[in-house]
Amino acid sequence: MKYYDKLIFELSKPGRCGYSLPVSPWNTTADALPEGLRRTAAAELPEVSELDVVRHYTNLSNMNFGVDTGFYPLGSCTMKYNPKINEEMASLACFKDIHPLQPESTVQGVLELYYNLERSLSAITGMANFTLNPFAGAQGELTGLMVIRRYHELRGDMKRTKIIVPDSAHGTNPASAAVCGLDVVEVKSKPDGRIDIESLRPLLDDTIAGIMMTNPNTLGLFESEIKEIAKLVHDCGGLLYYDGANFNPLLGMVRPGDMGFDVLHLNLHKTFSTPHGGGGPGAGPVGVAAHLADCLPNPRVVLGADGKYQLLTSETSCGRVSGFMGNFGVLIRAYTYILSLGKENIRMAGPLAVLNANYIKESLKDCYKLPIDMTCMHEFVFDGLLDKSTGITTLDVAKRLLDYGFHAPTIYFPLLFHQAIMIEPTETESKETLDGFIEVMRRIAEEAIANPEELHSAPHNTPVRRLDETTAAKNPILTYRESLCKK
């Protein structure tokens, strides 16, 4: 990685251009618009050559770390390998040049892909029906909660305004619930991070719309009492929501539908190998049990009696959550991945992810504090270094890992431990890669004693070093124009 300091605006020179358009065949221009409807001052966009653009964005990319660069054990993010064939299939012209409002007769191939992907996700999760429209995990959550609210509304049960969320949940759960107009009731977890059934029981009454659960939970532990929880929640008339952020260890082993969940979302950019793209685009399909299918968002893909695929809009739906039909390009990638896995390889996906996580955990627990010493699923949490006398924090460990060519794990989450380091290796990493990571983690533990200053000031060989985040937030500079003004 090499530091490169330019912004595209700083390469600009009046008169340069990076585009190639035909000579206009028309004798009119937008200057014919009435003056009062035209913009007065031109937007200050850069004027650069094509090569300027290519070099600039190539140089910027050299300051980035991706899964293709190296090991990326970011907990709860499932940074598995993103197969190249997925990218190629998503860029086929026969899928790219399609207008979203084209008549169904001209997009049968597209709709068949939606239908097949929905059927595949149903087979994998045990849910009856899916919508592929939500754009991301968070939007999937919100959509799932809308489905739950719509379900109760259709039954005329308007009292159910509360949703139960475990205290160990990711922050997005309560945020999604609040955006969806639900009141959040927190349920305590036991010392091992699992839901405390005795704390849950008194919360359950006829005002409960449902419960949001992540299973395995954010500590990487399977909620082994799930069937009892499901029964209790169902008995009070509530529904069970499954946050699919942590579905990867169950891929090929366990189906949320079989555990009693009524609604779930999946993150195709986690479990189904579509690239994270620096933060998106992802996809957050929502699956439901049969009795909730009518509440899924509009429009839905259905197979007509004539063997033709159709887009269906219904009055019982929770509404529309996307301008069109979601991130189609991402769906193509996920479907490609499922075809690659097939019914055979899928059986090994979850188990190998779980194997990798437990292997790292067992190999490092003599130098990092393992607060819950149990078999984990796809990820686990250390509470900082075992030796607390060195003053070395989790942040120091994470930053030092960057020097050694690894991405850092997720840090300071979950909130249950002060020095949380959450590690998720995924199934696509080899034993050799894990051994290399383990060796470096052990070396860092030694450095914490022998040379703590080296860790406090890490990273040392990255394009930039620790940043002044306080000033960035106190006096935010959010655009190039603002940056020029401040100088």
Binding site: R39, E47, T69, L101, G279, V321, N327, L339, P476
Partner: protein, 440 residues
């Protein structure tokens, strides 16, 4: 059986199980009740090789019918420069996650900063976030932003001239978020200021969402809108086509507090509706209500210029149930897409795209009217999209176009037919479609 994405040999698995101290992979699932472990065969096809997958997708592709696109309604057939796919497919961008570790994510952070800067320039606003999912959800977030920014207000007004799918998503979010949505009527195709003022009088309106270019393709005249909304302490939110903002009056110039819309018009392939990229920009005074990721400039310990995710105290992972939005990512790679597009097109190129789209659309409009089968509905200025009345039954017209390989004449709820043309449409294509219509 070996599989390309799983590197484990049998010897590896055994050695790892030994280190863990269990005898089998299944033992790792001891916490899972036995009756929820799935033991049946998955109802999926058998694993396919790359060659088989290629054949499968080519087969699906053949079931689509290619058409020449002569309409828009929220997705437009603009040209995609060759440079962009070459750059955004770089694995350093594609396979990275959200830039949490800023020291090894300066590539992502810098292009987001450039993106925010360009969106602010185009919209005439002071700041922008790192992007939203699409235009419709950006509009819904703008609606919730207005609710958060004003106190004790219960309603948001949306123009009847908004794109229908955008209005529908706003209504869905509003329903569950507990916001009442009212509609402002249009007068001759332009949102009616008199109706707006009448509805504002109740004093309960948090914000008003109007399009800069509406579902009839009309460039709206928003004179007086900002004053009317601000007099009632609400936010004016303008839904805009960022490509058109090279030439049409900006949300900032109209006095808007928030601008939102879809970046698809910045050269993103239509791709059956996604991935696109929503944008959300605002005046700086509202930045702490702006949802989503925001990147700011700072320095590192050595004084080097650097960029970082900032103002995170607004975000859902900190505020939990007190958050105004649940978004926790952005549409980053698509933000990179439009940043590269805008870098290539620059000041002149984007104007030229508008000029050529204007030329093509006006030629198409005039040729259609000249057939005597179509007549204008509104006498208002448009850029690349317009609606007409027609004497041909709409379904018959649509089918004839499809049979000739064209997709156009989308029907509005009023029964008008909508057409659009971009810089990609040639005189030859338009003439061919006109001939086809004459032969109906």
């Amino acid at each position: 059986m070996a599989f390309a994405y799983f590197p484990h040999t049998d010897a590896d698995v055994n050695a790892m199980l030994a280190r863990i101290g269990v005898g089998s992979l299944e033992e790792l699932y001891a916490d899972v009740p036995a009756d929820v472990v799935y033991r049946k065969e998955y109802d999926l096809p058998s694993a396919m090789s790359e060659m088989e997958i290629r054949r499968c997708f080519e087969g699906l592709g053949r079931k689509n019918k290619p058409v020449t696109v002569m309409c828009g309604c929220g997705a437009y057939d603009h040209y995609q420069p060759a440079v962009i796919p070459a750059l955004i497919s770089r694995a350093e961008y594609l396979t990275a996650y959200t830039p949490y570790q800023a020291e090894i994510s300066q590539g992502t952070l810098r292009y987001i900063f450039e993106y925010q800067s360009m969106i602010a320039e185009l919209t005439g606003m002071e700041c922008a976030n790192a992007s939203m999912y699409d235009g419709a959800t950006a509009a819904a977030e703008a609606m919730m932003m207005a609710m958060a920014a004003t106190r004790k207000k219960t309603r948001v007004l949306i123009a009847d001239t908004l794109l229908p799918q955008v209005a529908e998503v706003v209504r869905t979010y509003a329903k569950y978020h507990g916001v009442v949505i009212g509609t402002v009527a249009h007068k001759d195709g332009n949102t009616d200021l008199a109706d707006l003022k009448a509805q504002l009088e109740a004093g309960d309106v948090a914000g008003v969402l109007v399009p800069s270019i509406n579902r009839f393709g009309i460039v709206e005249d928003l004179t007086g809108f900002a004053d009317a909304v601000h007099a009632q302490k609400g936010l004016l939110m303008v839904y805009a086509d960022p490509s058109a903002l090279a030439v049409v009056r900006t949300p900032g110039e109209w006095g808007a507090d928030v601008a939102c819309g879809d970046g698809q018009t910045l050269g993103i392939p239509m791709s059956f509706g996604g991935p696109y990229v929503g944008f959300l920009a605002c005046k700086k005074e509202h930045v702490r209500k702006l949802p989503g990721r925001i990147v700011g400039e700072t320095t590192d310990v050595d004084g080097k210029r650097a960029f970082v995710l900032t103002l995170q105290a607004r975000e859902q992972h900190i505020r939990r149930e007190k958050a105004n939005s649940n978004i926790c990512s952005n549409q980053s790679l698509m933000a990179l897409y439009v940043t590269i597009y805008l870098s290539l097109m620059g000041k002149q190129g984007l104007k030229e795209v508008c000029n050529q789209s204007y030329g093509a659309a006006h030629y198409l409009h005039d040729q259609l009217v000249a057939t005597g089968l179509f007549a204008p509905v509104f006498d208002r200025p448009f850029l690349k999209e317009f609606v007409l009345k027609t004497t041909i039954p709409v379904e018959k017209l649509q089918q004839a176009l499809l049979d000739g390989g064209f997709f156009g004449a989308l029907a509005t709820e009023e029964g008008y037919v909508s057409f659009a043309a971009t810089e990609r449409r040639t005189r030859e294509e338009i003439d061919r479609m006109i001939d086809l219509i004459k032969s109906i």
